[in-house]
């Protein structure tokens, strides 16, 4: 094999220094958001309900996970996703949610009957102006959805969702962009979409045994 002298190796031209508008933009956005209050986690009073419910629940609970993100952080996430080949559902979810707080709690001791939990949550959130739009109990399971009274006047929808399976309780407070939330719901919750146009509507889902004609 013929040796190649170093001088004979092809010389690469120097790479031109290209501007990096995306990174510059992202860095600036970070700085602006970090300087402001945008990176603060979930803002009150929306998420005050979260703590209020937890304090009101009967029995003893151990927090497993608690995650929250405010609008600033979620703006960063959206910006980040715009730069990556993220799946469309991830982008849609990031667009939909403006702020959230999620926590998972394990029941340790005391009363864990679903009706008692529901009543406690009703009372705690009611004091803060939330009203329950849906409550469902079956066996040890509980699911409840609350929204703030008068929320419909705005495009942003505040929601509090409580779900309990007899052992673990998931509590979510979030505010989302209504159109995006609904687009996401219609895409990913078949029963939800069914409620507006198909026979298997959401109330059917909560209504499995009552389909006979009167």
């Amino acid at each position: 094999m013929k040796p190649v002298s170093p001088s004979a190796a092809p010389v690469r031209p120097p790479r031109p220094t290209r501007p990096r508008p995306l990174w510059t933009g992202l860095s600036l956005a970070l700085l602006v958001l970090a300087a402001g209050s945008g990176c603060a986690p979930a803002p009150d009073p929306l998420h005050a309900g979260h703590e209020e419910v937890l304090a009101a629940l009967p029995g003893e609970w151990q927090t497993h996970i608690q995650v929250s993100a405010g609008p600033g952080l979620l703006a960063l996430v959206r910006a980040g996703l715009a730069l990556t080949p993220a799946e469309p559902p991830a982008r849609a979810a990031a667009r939909a949610v403006r702020s959230f707080k999620v926590s998972v709690h394990r029941h340790l001791a005391g009363n864990r009957r679903a009706p008692g939990l529901l009543a406690a949550a009703d009372q705690a959130l009611g004091r803060l102006g939330w009203e329950r739009v849906v409550g469902a109990l079956e066996g040890r399971d509980l699911a409840a959805v609350y929204t703030r009274a008068g929320a419909g006047a705005a495009r942003r929808l505040p929601l509090c969702v409580l779900a309990f399976d007899g052992e673990e309780l998931v509590l979510v407070t979030a505010v989302g962009d209504l159109d995006a939330v609904l687009a996401l719901a219609r895409e990913h919750l078949p029963a939800a979409a069914g409620g507006f146009g198909e026979r298997s509507g959401p109330i059917h889902a909560a209504w499995p045994r009552h389909r006979k004609a009167p």
Partner: protein, 189 residues
């Protein structure tokens, strides 16, 4: 983490809240309150849905693009209340008594009882609150399915009698759908 959350109930709850989210200040004439029913102590099914004007208006805006006819129907609705309660020894008597009082209360307040169907294991009553000859302000459907289950549906707003069946079907409210069909049948006679 266990993922055995109450999936059906959660899904129903979420989808309802997301899709049918309260013009709430004043109580619509067709809205009646059966009050709070006791869940069965034995763990049977218990569902309550309480949707008011703002959220319904919001839902109408959202579905308007894809289903304008449905959006128009939802715009007329001021409130939807649904109760589905399994009965057991702990709550049977109370819920049955409550439904009986509710029916009597509706009749006393001038609601028109358009359907009474009593068969073994089933007791259905459908009431309408009318405004003049053409308009409906409210519909209330109560069903006692033997000793097993009680259902109460109340829809209030500016309702069109000829669209009631369709509305019930679209919202997945079978008792409302059947009330609409009965009403249609009664009108064609």
């Amino acid at each position: 983490m266990k993922t055995g959350l109450p999936s059906r109930a959660t899904l129903a709850a979420l989808s309802l809240a997301l899709l049918l989210p309260a013009r709430a200040a004043e109580t619509p004439a067709g809205l009646v309150d059966i009050g709070s029913l006791s869940p069965p102590a034995g763990g049977g099914q218990f569902v309550e849905v309480n949707l008011r004007g703002d959220l319904l208006a919001m839902a109408a805006r959202v579905v308007a693009r894809e289903e304008p006819a449905l959006a128009e129907m939802i715009r007329g609705i001021r409130a939807v209340r649904v109760h589905v309660v399994s009965l057991d020894d702990s709550n049977r008597r109370e819920v049955k008594d409550r439904i009986a009082r509710f029916r009597q209360d509706l009749a006393d307040r001038g609601w028109e009882r358009i359907v009474t169907a009593q068969a073994p294991g089933e007791d259905v009553a459908i009431f309408l609150k009318t405004r003049g000859d053409e308009a409906l302000e409210g519909v209330a459907v109560t069903v006692l399915e033997g000793d097993r289950e009680a259902v109460c549906v109340n829809v209030a707003g500016d309702l069109r009698p000829d669209k009631l069946a369709e509305l019930g079907e679209k919202l997945g409210l079978q008792p409302l759908h059947h009330a609409g069909l009965k009403l249609r049948k009664a009108e064609t006679r």
